[in-house]
Structure formats: C-alpha cells, structure tokens
Amino acid sequence: MLRFLFDRDTWQEVYDSMSKNKLRTVITMIGVWWGILLLIGLLGAARGMENSFNRLFGDFATNSVFIWGQSTSKPFKGFQEGRRVRLSLTDAKKVEDNVEGIEFVVPRNQNQGKVVRNFLSGSFNVAGDYPLLDVVQKKKMLFGRFINQNDIDNNKKVAVISEDVYKQLFEKDEEPIGAYMQINGMNFTVIGVFDVGNVNMGPSSDIHIPFTTFQQIYNQGDEIGWIMVTGKPEYNIKQIELDAKLLLRTLNKIHPRDNRAFGSFNLGNEFAKITGFLTGMQFLTWFVGIATLIAGVIAIGSILLITVKERTKEIGVRRALGATPFEIKRQIVIEAVFLTLNAGIFGIISGGWILIFLDNKFGQGDDATLVNASVSIAVVFAALLILVVLGTLIGLIPAFKATSVKPIEALREE
C-alpha cells in the first residue's frame, strides 16, 4: 500500500484524470478551499482579539474588585437610614486579615487638586497611593520611579505624574525628575512620569502622591476613598466581594442585608464575561469552519460521483484489462484525498495571507485590535488530518459506486 503511494504511476493516473477536466477539478476544490480559509482566517482573528485583550490586561490584576462606601438604605442599631458610609484604613486592614483568598487590599484616595508649575497650571486628579498599586496595576514608567515605602514612611512630598500632566506643565524635552510643582499650594518634587496606557481600570489618576502625604494635605485622617481587593487566582472573586462587604457592614454597624451601603465594581466578573465571549467565538469559529469544510468535502464527493459515472466505460475497460476492484477503488479514493488535501493546503496558504493582511491592517501599533493574529501549527496539522480523514471517507462513496457496476455493463455504456 505504501509503495503504491510513492509510485509515479499512481500520481500520473491522478494527474491525468484531473487534468482531463481542469475546470471541474478547480470547482471541486473551491468548497474545501473556502472552508479551510474561513477556519484559518477566523481562528487567527479570534486569537488576535484574545492576544490584544491579554496585552491590554496583561499588567493588571484582573481577579479584583473595587469597593467604596455610599449611604445606608436600612436603619440599623439605632442609626437611621441615609447615613454616609466611609471606609477607613482599619476596615481595609480587617478585610485583608479576615477574608479568605485575598492577595492584596490596596486602599486608595483621590481628590481634585490645583497644580501650578512656574506660569503653567491645571486642575488634575490627585491620588494618594501605596507602592502596592504598582503591583496590581503595573505602571509603565517613562521616567523615574513609582512611590516607595520610604516616601510613605516619611510623608514625603513627592509626585508621580502622568505623561499628560508632563506635557501640559513642562517644556518639550525638559527634565521632569527633580522638578518642583505646587499641589494645592504645597511644593512637591516630581520623581516619576508614567504612561497612562490603553486601559485604566477604576478612576484614572493624573498624579500619584504617597498615601500618607495625601492624608495630610487633604486632612483625611483614617478615611479612604475606596479599596481595591485582589484575590488569589484560585479563589472566586465574587465570593471575596460578598465576604468583604459582609465584613465591612459588620464593622460599620450596617444592616447585614443593606446592599446599598457599599458600592463595588467587580473587575473579575467583567473580565470573565469577555473571556467567555472569546471562548464562545473560538467555539463558533471551529463550528463554522468545520461545517463549511464538511460541506466542501461533500461537494468533492458528489462531483467525484458524477466523474465516476462519466468514466463508467473507462473503468469497465480497465477492469477488462485486469484492474481489480480494489485497484479501481484505491485510485478513486486517492484522487479524493489528493483533491481535498490540495484544496486544504491552498486554503491554509490563502488563510495565512488573510492573517498577514489583517496583521498589517489592524495589528500594528500599541492600540492594535488584533495582536499577532495567527493559528498554531498544531491547528494546521489537525485541519489537514481532518481533511485526509474526510477525503478518504467521502472518496469511498464514488469508489464503491465505480465498482458496483459489472465490467460487462460498464463496457456496454456509451
């Protein structure tokens, strides 16, 4: 059988019977070509979307939830409803110590600040932060560094500014590190400039200053704006959110079922939705691709069936000359496989071109919609394998049809 595959005559026969009717051969192949092109193109695009998504969130702790205080909606323990709730550092500490599965609790504060530098000024969001923020939301530093523990401990008047602030308050190419600027009338030293990037989860901040310094200049005491809670990867962030909120209600003497006392945004949940969407898209792609592929292969089968009908007499002659039924079947099956496989390879190549085109068109730059739109070699081989199997199966139908006619009847055919 294997010797047969490497026999020049086998392929001569395939070539002869296909080149006999080139148009039919080409039309036959279109179905499979289209199917595999669709499969490769869509899978690559889906992968590109996933990659771009992963790039956007790559430096971000996605298994996280933001929680902030609002107003109570139920009276409890002598307090009336409508009481304003504010989180404190103690709350944050208790949450971190008592809720299961927590990785980090990052307390944050933010306020509006008037910033002046020389003759330029602007109003910006000023956030008080711990160095931990840089862990859960990796800051891309253009110059200098982010806030460190030393800044916190010494209530240092240092500021990390966004690229936008830098552009507004500094001359082009001016050295920002070590420069002074006034925030709400107080002098701060710039220690770093960060790139805002594409995605900024939670309220965006223009200027980060040490948390402790923020407490001082805004006279915040222990109160904090909101906390960002990140869960360990193996824990469900939804449960962490529920546990944390329940604990916070107890700590702040709020009715256990008062759902409005704390507001929250569960990033993990949103992220899971998008991931689910992407998975669904991949599934759909496979489904559509494989279905089209099957349709294409069936088209090959039916055209080969017609071919076999046309060649009834020829097959009869061959059998009169000594071709065994097996040899006839083998030849037809190999033709089917050859057609499917070639159409498939063309499809993969043109699918590749489409991906290259997509990459050129949508895959360039930092804010690309599709990043590295591609399919793995494993997928390509799997697709080819599927084609060989389907081609063989579909080829069996005309093959059996061809030998079902007795040679004597086949010879009588005109």
Partner: protein, 234 residues
C-alpha cells in the same frame, strides 16, 4: 485444448420471465486456432464471448481455460485471470482517450505490477509490431480508426495472453482498413496466437480457419474452412 466448454447455459431475467440466451453450448478450441463465431443479433454470440472473457458468468456448465476451471470467480480473481490469460479487442477500440498510444498499450502491464521502464519498453515493442512506434505519443483522437484498432491490438498483445478475444474487431472500420486489420490478425495467428472473434460479416469470417455458427443459443454449424488470405484480395 486451450479452451473447453461443456453444456454451457445462460439466461437473463427480463421482468418476471427470463430469456434463455445460451442453451447448452459445447465448444473446444485448440492452440493456434483462429475461429469466427457467427450469428445474427440475439443469437448469443456476444454473450458467449463475454463468458469466455470472464466478463460474464454462465449459469451452468463447465468452462476450462488452459486446464483451469473458470467457475465462481471473485471479481479480483477474474481480473487477474483476464489480465494473465486474455487479450481483448473491441469493436469501438475502447482506448482511454486521455492516454497516448504507448500508455494505452502499457496499461495491462501496469495492472500486472510491472515496473514503469520495463513496461514502456515492452509497450513500445508491441507498438512497433503493429507499425505504430512513431505514433507512440499520440492520443487516440489524433489517430485514424485503423490506427486506433492497431493500438488496441498491441494493448491486447502486451500481456502476452493465451487467447485473443475480438468482438467485431472490424465493425467500426471501412472495408480497406478492415482487411488491413484482418491481415494483421492473420499474421498473429501465423505466429501461433489463438484467436476467437465474433463477427457477422461473411468475408471477415472466411478469413478465419473455422466458423462456428450460432442460432437461438445453440451451435448450428461448426466447420473448419479453407482460410482466405487477405493477400489474395490485393
């Protein structure tokens, strides 16, 4: 005896009834014979040739080819026997239209599993024999009817069969070409080939050495004749 047939019966079902085509045929052919099977259409001559050619199977009776009983053959076995023992010459040549003369002649050798090079040498040798070596790479449509039949004869000879079966070999040719083909077949017979042909033309039959006449499925007459050599016409 190269061919022995005893009490051969064959009938075809037609609707509810059946048509009895061959009603007890007895026929023996010796090596080197050249026999014509004659009869009007419906006499069963083609059916007989098809059974001898293992393209069809008898209902009952014995068929022994060169000492080998031909009975209950599988399709595969029949194909191997056809390839090994028989050479077919058809009325309509039955060459494969997208293969050139050489490839057509080499086809039985391909099914014998012969190596490509050897096969082509052998095919070319037989094409030379029928005088068409110069046309080896032409397609059937580029050749005349007589040339096509000669390619078909070369193909029938390629596998060096024990028996040549010709079904109206001159049926599609004009008289002049027919005689050329017959002259060639006579030469083959002179070289010792056993030839069995079906024809309904008296002049063609008279060029054989023996005439078997069939009517309604039985042999009416089976006689050895004085062969008319084609050269006599020239």
């Amino acid at each position: 005896m190269i061919l022995e047939i005893k009490d051969l019966h064959k009938s075809y079902p037609i609707g509810d009834s059946s048509l009895h085509v061959l009603k007890g045929i007895n026929l023996s052919v010796k090596e080197g014979e050249m026999a014509a099977i004659m009869g009007s259409s419906g006499s069963g001559k083609s059916t007989l040739l098809n059974i001898i050619g293992m393209l069809d199977e008898a209902d009952s009776g014995d068929y022994i080819l060169d000492g080998l009983p031909i009975k209950n053959l599988t399709e595969k076995k029949a194909a191997v026997y056809r390839n090994k023992f028989l050479g077919f010459i058809f009325q309509s040549f039955n060459l494969i239209n997208y293969k050139n003369a050489l490839e057509n002649v080499a086809l039985p050798l391909y099914y014998q599993g012969m190596k490509r090079k050897e096969r082509q040498e052998k095919a070319l040798f037989h094409l030379e024999k029928v005088g068409l070596a110069d046309w080896a790479h032409h397609l059937p449509k580029e050749l005349s009817g007589g040339q096509n039949q000669r390619v078909a004869i070369a193909r029938a000879l390629a596998a060096n069969p024990k028996l040549l079966l010709a079904d109206e070999p001159t049926g599609a040719l004009d008289t002049k070409t027919s005689y050329e083909i017959m002259e060639f077949i006579q030469q083959l017979n002179d070289e010792g080939k056993t030839i069995l042909m079906v024809t309904h033309e008296e002049d063609i039959a008279n060029m054989c050495k023996r005439i078997v006449r069939l009517r309604d499925g039985v042999i009416m007459e089976d006689k050895v004749i004085n062969q008319v050599r084609v050269e006599q016409y020239a």
